[in-house]
């Protein structure tokens, strides 16, 4: 089995996908989701979106993923490769 790994940054990319798909910020979604509001979003996606957000919170001790300059990100990708 191919061994894949995730981290806060890869989960954060998932958040950006949900934001694009549903036209809502993660903060807005999460506040409404945790308040029990009925949202026009498939239940599975709601669950996953909130789970990704919670996992990022846990992995970063609540700090969230800080945006980094693209040059730094590319540099790290090259090093990892």
């Amino acid at each position: 089995m191919q061994k894949l790994y995730y981290n806060a940054e890869s989960l954060d990319r998932g958040l950006r996908e949900f934001e694009r798909e549903y036209g809502m910020s993660t903060e807005d979604f999460y506040a409404r989701y945790t308040a029990g509001e009925k949202l026009p979003i498939p239940r599975f996606d709601q669950h996953s979106w909130a789970a990704f957000r919670d996992a990022i919170d846990r992995l970063t001790d609540g700090a969230g993923v800080q945006p980094r300059p693209v040059v730094e990100r590319v540099g790290q990708a090259l090093i990892c490769a």
């Binding site: 089995m1 894949l4 995730y6 981290n7 996953s48 789970a51």
Partner: protein, 139 residues
Amino acid sequence: MDVWEYFQTREREIEECSLHVTGSIPPFAAEEGSDDQRGMVYGRILFNGYPSTVYLSMYEEVVVRGSGITRPRYAYFLIIDGQEIGGYERHASHDPPVHRHCSGRKRHEGAPSRVISFKDAAKEAWEYVAQFAQPITGK
């Protein structure tokens, strides 16, 4: 025990349930820095003999505890032709934490549920698929 052992079991169960994984990226991943003690299953599982519009959306958060694995959070939802038919969820922030959603009469109504295994969720999903979905037919 690590999450990869669990993932291998889950992979086998997917096959045993006449299901298969879609796409080139497997749905299994471990959390970086967890020493393979925490991981996630996230993806679409297809039903053998049915088109890709019929699938089980699957999310599991898994954590190794001693010699076993726990699923503190999971979601299994059946999708047929773009419609979320229903599913099971477990998460501590919900009330009740373990519940099901059935969209037969009303969208997304929740009802308490027992903790459900992946295989039982898949078995129940198959009942709906067999009844309501259109299988791939030969020419």
